[in-house]
C-alpha cells in the first residue's frame, strides 16, 4: 500500500527522510510541471519555476517562510505556491499569452524523426496532438485557461480550484465550461481549415 502524502511529509519532516520527499516530488511532478508548462509555454522556464516552487515549499515546510499546517492537502498547498510562482513570472514578463511555443522540449523537428518505429510514430502523433491542443489552450481567456490547466493537469477538484482562485465554485465551473466550449469551437475551426487545406492541395 502506497503511503499517503501526509505520511511522506511526516517522514521527511520528522525523520529527515529525503527518499520520502523524493517520492512526494515524483508522485506529483507531472501535475505540477504540466500546470507550469501550460502557464509559461517554455520548458526551460517551467523547469526553473518547478525548482523555485519547491524552494518555497521546502522553506515553508521547515517554517522558514510561510507554513504548512499538515491538514491533508499537500498537493493543493503546493499548487498554490506553484501558481504564485507562475503569476510572479508572468507579471515580470508582462505577458500572459503570446509566449513562443516552439521551444517545447528543446528538440528540433529532425530529432523527433530519428526513430521510425510504430511506437515512435505514435509518440510523435501524440506530441503533435499535444502541441496542437496547447496552441488552442493558449488562446483561451487567462482565467479559463488557468481553471482548465488546474483541473486537467493537477487533478485538483473544482472546490479546491475555487479556493485557490478565491472565487465561488460556480464561477470556477462556469470558467471551465466556457474553456471547454471555446476549445471545442477552436478545434472544429482548425479541423475545417485543415480539411480545406487538404482539398486545396
Amino acid at each position: 500500500m502506497q503511503p499517503t502524502d501526509e505520511e511522506l511529509v511526516s517522514a521527511y519532516l520528522d525523520e529527515s527522510d529525503e527518499q520520502a520527499f523524493r517520492q512526494l516530488v515524483e508522485r506529483h511532478q507531472d501535475r505540477i510541471f504540466g500546470y507550469l508548462m501550460g502557464m509559461v509555454k517554455d520548458r526551460a522556464v517551467a523547469n526553473d519555476l518547478f525548482q523555485e516552487t519547491f524552494e518555497r515549499v521546502i522553506k515553508a515546510m521547515h517554517g522558514e517562510r510561510g507554513s504548512y499546517d499538515r491538514q491533508g492537502q499537500w498537493l493543493s498547498w503546493v499548487m498554490s505556491i506553484a501558481r504564485n510562482a507562475a503569476i510572479d513570472h508572468t507579471r515580470k514578463q508582462k505577458k500572459w499569452t503570446d509566449v513562443p511555443q516552439d521551444e517545447d522540449d528543446g528538440r528540433s523537428f529532425w530529432d523527433t524523426l530519428e526513430d521510425d518505429s510504430p511506437y515512435a510514430d505514435e509518440q510523435l502523433h501524440r506530441a503533435e496532438q499535444r502541441e496542437w491542443l496547447d496552441e488552442h489552450i493558449e488562446q483561451l481567456a487567462p482565467e479559463q485557461k488557468e481553471v482548465l490547466l488546474l483541473r486537467q493537469e493537477t487533478d485538483l477538484t473544482f472546490r479546491e480550484i475555487a479556493e485557490l482562485q478565491d472565487v465561488s465554485i460556480n464561477t470556477a465551473l462556469g470558467r471551465m465550461r466556457y474553456a471547454l466550449k471555446n476549445l471545442r469551437k477552436m478545434m472544429e475551426a482548425s479541423d475545417e481549415t485543415a480539411l480545406v487545406g487538404t482539398i486545396d492541395t
Binding site: Y12, F21, D30, M37, A127, Q152
Partner: protein
C-alpha cells in the same frame, strides 16, 4: 446549481447525484448535445501525454530538501516506546513490590479488627459462593504469588502472617456456606 454547471462536475466525476443528472440528460436533447461535445473535448485533453520536469531538476530539488532538513542524528530521538518501557521497568518492579507489601499490611490489619473485616462479615453471612477455595489452595496460591527471585525477609514474614490470618478466618466462612447450601 445549474444543470450545465453540474454537467462539468459530472464530466470530472465530481457530481454527487449522478442518477438525477442522467435523467435530465435523457429528457433534454440540448443538454445531451452539450454533454457529448464537452466529453469529446475532455477526451482529447485526457489523451495528451504527460509532461515532466528534467530528472536533473528533480535531483536538485531533493538535494535542497536534504540540505534544508537537519541531520537525523542531531534531532531528538522520536520517542521510541520500547525505550520508555525499558526505562520504566525498574520503577514498575519497585512499585509492584510496594503494592504487594502495602496490600499485605492493609489486609493483615483489616481482617483482625479494621473496617475491611466489617465489610467482609456480611458477605460471609449471605453465603455468596464467591470465596470458595480451601485454606490449602489459598495458601499455595498465595505462596505462588511471591516471586521466586524475591527472598526478602520482611516480605516472607508478611506473607506468612497473611496466610495465618486467612487460615484462621477461612473455615468459619466455608462452614457457614456449607450450612446455608444444605437443604
Amino acid at each position: 446549481m445549474d444543470d450545465r454547471l453540474r454537467l462539468i462536475r459530472y464530466l470530472y466525476d465530481e457530481e454527487v447525484d449522478e442518477s438525477a443528472l442522467a435523467r435530465r440528460l435523457s429528457d433534454d436533447p440540448d443538454l445531451y448535445r452539450e454533454y457529448e461535445e464537452l466529453a469529446a473535448t475532455k477526451r482529447a485533453l485526457d489523451d495528451r501525454p504527460a509532461r515532466r520536469p528534467d530528472a536533473a531538476v528533480v535531483d536538485q530539488v531533493v538535494d535542497q530538501a536534504r540540505t534544508a532538513a537537519p541531520p537525523s542524528e542531531d534531532r531528538p530521538a522520536r520517542a521510541p516506546s520500547h525505550a520508555w518501557a525499558r526505562r520504566l521497568q525498574p520503577a514498575g518492579a519497585a512499585l509492584a513490590l510496594l503494592l504487594v507489601i502495602g496490600l499485605g499490611w492493609w489486609q493483615g490489619d483489616g481482617t483482625s479488627d479494621g473496617p475491611a473485616a466489617d465489610a467482609a462479615a456480611p458477605g460471609a453471612l449471605d453465603g455468596a459462593p464467591r470465596q470458595a477455595p480451601t485454606t490449602a489452595q489459598t495458601r499455595s496460591s498465595d505462596a505462588d504469588a511471591i516471586p521466586a527471585w524475591d527472598d526478602g525477609e520482611e516480605l516472607i514474614r508478611i506473607q506468612r502472617r497473611i496466610d495465618r490470618l486467612q487460615a484462621r478466618s477461612a473455615p468459619d466462612r466455608w462452614g457457614s456456606l456449607q450450612r446455608v447450601s444444605r437443604p
